[in-house]
């Protein structure tokens, strides 16, 4: 039920103000994107390792937003999102690497592989939709394992553990104003930083529109009560299938960017169950069905592993407090425990996630006034 505006204001403890501030609150993503877009101009580190790490972070954000469609909006637990991530990456590679005759150019390859990944998602979804809850979860898990083993074993097609490389950068061979775009992408990580930021922005905008569209509302309806939704004339099957396809497509897009930014598909282990679990944790930790929550969850979990942990390790090394190299005194020795403890504590004190979706928050407030 829509709540009166005053109740919301009391709940957040913040008075509603007109003007710039209100606009800022409503359009947080514009601010965040603007900050991130301007960052490379003021932070030179983004031209180096940090740029690459941030690119990875954006790509995982996209992947998590894709998973959020399934788990957050539609309420279907998906334990194999990494498989679709991998399928996107491998399709991208097959369409662009010199080993294959296609070499159709980056953008075209991205479009084709996103569509194909969505198709594969549909193909998995169609027969398994009558499964519910954890049975569906285990099917997605199983699919993930099947994909990983297949990628590893079909060496003639996927290169086995060697993966497919080199995936050419976008715009390879294209010259704009005397600059070879491909070379620019390969040398300066800021190009990929901007490309993945742009893709992330696109996905965020698309998700926000979807959330409030007819389809998005139908997803939530099916999550809340499938029978009631059917009674209202919503076809649960079609709604779930569309969630499957959308989720896979977005994951496929993330895979394309991933393969592009690393210039290789990496080996199939990069798309295993661990990765699926990590992204699922990010989505739940941030807040199911919440776009800002998902982004925050990824920033924390992936940021911890790719940015914070290496940084803390080298800090400890530089302080030289660990001359014997004991693992008890290194950050990486405790990484797993810190990671696990963080998950446990967040769930203990914010079980609905760090930034719960408005719907879920409203629901919880109704349930526990």
């Amino acid at each position: 039920m829509p709540r009166p505006a005053t109740a919301v204001d009391v709940a957040t403890g913040l008075p509603a103000r007109a003007g710039v501030l209100a606009w800022l609150r409503e359009r947080w993503e514009i601010v965040a994107l603007a900050v991130l877009a301007l960052a490379p101009l003021v932070v030179p580190a983004l031209g180096g390792a940090l740029g690459g790490q941030m690119t990875t972070l954006f790509i995982y954000c996209i992947l998590a937003l894709g998973l959020n469609v399934m788990v957050g909006y539609t309420g279907l637990v998906h334990l194999g999102i990494a498989a679709f991530f991998g399928i996107g990456a491998y399709l991208m590679a097959i369409l662009t690497v010199p080993m294959y005759p296609f070499q159709i150019g980056w953008l075209a390859a991205a479009v084709v592989s996103v569509l194909l990944t969505a198709g594969i998602g549909l193909a998995l979804g169609a027969p398994t939709l009558r499964l519910r809850g954890d049975y569906l979860a285990i099917v997605t898990l199983g699919f993930g394992e099947v994909v990983k083993v297949t990628l590893r074993n079909l060496e003639q097609i996927t290169g086995g553990m060697k993966g497919l490389n080199p995936v050419p950068p976008p715009g390879a061979g294209v010259k704009v104003a005397g600059i070879d775009l491909g070379l620019a992408f390969a040398i300066d990580p800021r190009w990929f930083y901007y490309l993945s930021l742009l893709a992330l922005a696109g996905v965020v905008v698309a998700m926000r529109r979807l959330e409030h569209s007819r389809l998005g509302r139908a997803w939530v309806a099916v999550r809340e009560d499938e029978l009631a939704a059917s009674a209202m004339g919503i076809s649960a099957t079609r709604v779930k299938l569309s969630a499957f396809a959308m989720s896979s497509a977005v994951a496929g897009l993330a895979g394309c960017l991933y393969a592009g930014s690393l210039s290789t598909t990496a080996d199939p282990n990069a798309y295993d169950f661990n990765r699926s679990i990590m992204v699922l944790c990010a989505v739940i930790l941030g807040g199911l069905g919440s776009i800002p929550g998902t982004l925050l969850g990824v920033a924390i979990l992936v940021g911890f592993d790719t940015v914070l942990a290496p940084w803390a390790d080298s800090l400890i090394q530089q302080m030289n407090i660990n001359p014997l190299g004991s693992s008890l005194l290194s950050f990486s020795g405790w990484r797993l425990a810190i990671f696990g403890l963080a998950l446990v504590l967040v769930m203990r004190y914010r079980p609905e996630g760090l930034v719960p979706s408005r719907r879920l928050a409203a629901e919880l407030r109704e349930a526990h006034p």
């Binding site: 609150r25 409503e26 947080w28 601010v31 180096g48 940090l50 990875t56 790719t306 080298s314 693992s327």
Partner: protein, 425 residues
Amino acid sequence: MTWFDPPRTGALHSAVMNPTARLIAPLFACLLLVTACRPADPGLVKIVSSLPRTGSAKQQTDAIVRGLRMAIEEAEGKVGPFRVEYLDLDDATAAAGQWTSEAEAANARRALQDPDVVAYIGTYNSGAAKVSMPILNLGDLLMVSPANTAVGLTKPGLGEPGEPNVYRPTGRLNYTRVVPADDLQGPLSADWAQERGVKKVYILDDSEVYGKGIADLFDERCREIGIEVLGHDSIDAKAQEFKSLMASVKAAGPDLVYFGGTTQSKGGQLAKDMVSAGITALLMVPDGCREQVFIDSAGAANLEGRCFVTFGGLPPEKLTGKGSEFVERYKKKFGELPEAYAVYGYEAACVALQAIRDAGVKDRRGISDAALAIKDFDGALGRWGFDENGDTTMRTLTVSVVKNGKFEFEEVLDANAVGDEAGLR
């Protein structure tokens, strides 16, 4: 709660969005600031290593890092006019438990970005080298690997089409390795097996770049010289036991089982299940298993007298000259015999230091060129140099056998005879 979306009034919409802006903006801001930027220090050079320091390969990389540190300590932290600093980077993540492409790529970019870094010791896994080689090549940063053995990284015509040039986008060389590549080890092992009278082999690998690569080379050579290959299968390095597989091996009845893989990819478990299935055949493994942990994890009794390990170069106890001095110092410092790879870590650091000394300037291209120009290096591994591909000219291979729970030197394999015969340079 109805599933109808409430009308989007401004105040309602901002209800939960509001804290978000406050949360996300500073978080990203923090992320951006974690790497502070300093100007380059003209009197300082940095050597970094990128090895899997988390997860199951840690024991091996600990040995390598110890070797590295010893080399730098022995130079008293100075080379030519420069002070030397060392940074130990991890290309594994806690979540993955092994090296990951993005951690390796991030390490490579990080090294490139720091103007003081002039040498990059790594990688441990050949797969990881494929990620960082093209990145480091763009900055001409010298890369010295203590452990990569996949042939395609350096040798034209032996790897996949396009290798190794795909790893050299600038067309210049910056990658070297101090360990002999698998084009020697795989075929030589097959020849050795034939000398021992082996007629039938069963080949297994761990499906990794290294393990599968060397098993394929072994397989090829066996077929060339007329050893019957009864089967060739890949295992899943995450599987817990191989009892069914060993029942199949037993039914095939080989004289020798070859496993292309490492301790980390379940070499020990394989040996154990082989024994408990009642297989009496010999077991042969490559240098990826040449570490004490392999014997410990397999159980010494299961390997006693039947397990043979090939290794590029001489084992620690057979080293002479500088090598044996290194072993003595290592033993004194850490109270144990070094793992086989510790020497390679030491040698890699020595090569990097030598290159910096030879170049005399803090210039990455100059240092890479100086390293590639090393032709007669008197190091812990003996006298050797780099060839035109950045490969070591060292062609000594040895076979050890497991006896009394230790690796015991068995014989030196004649690399030159076999190399010519197999059509290898």
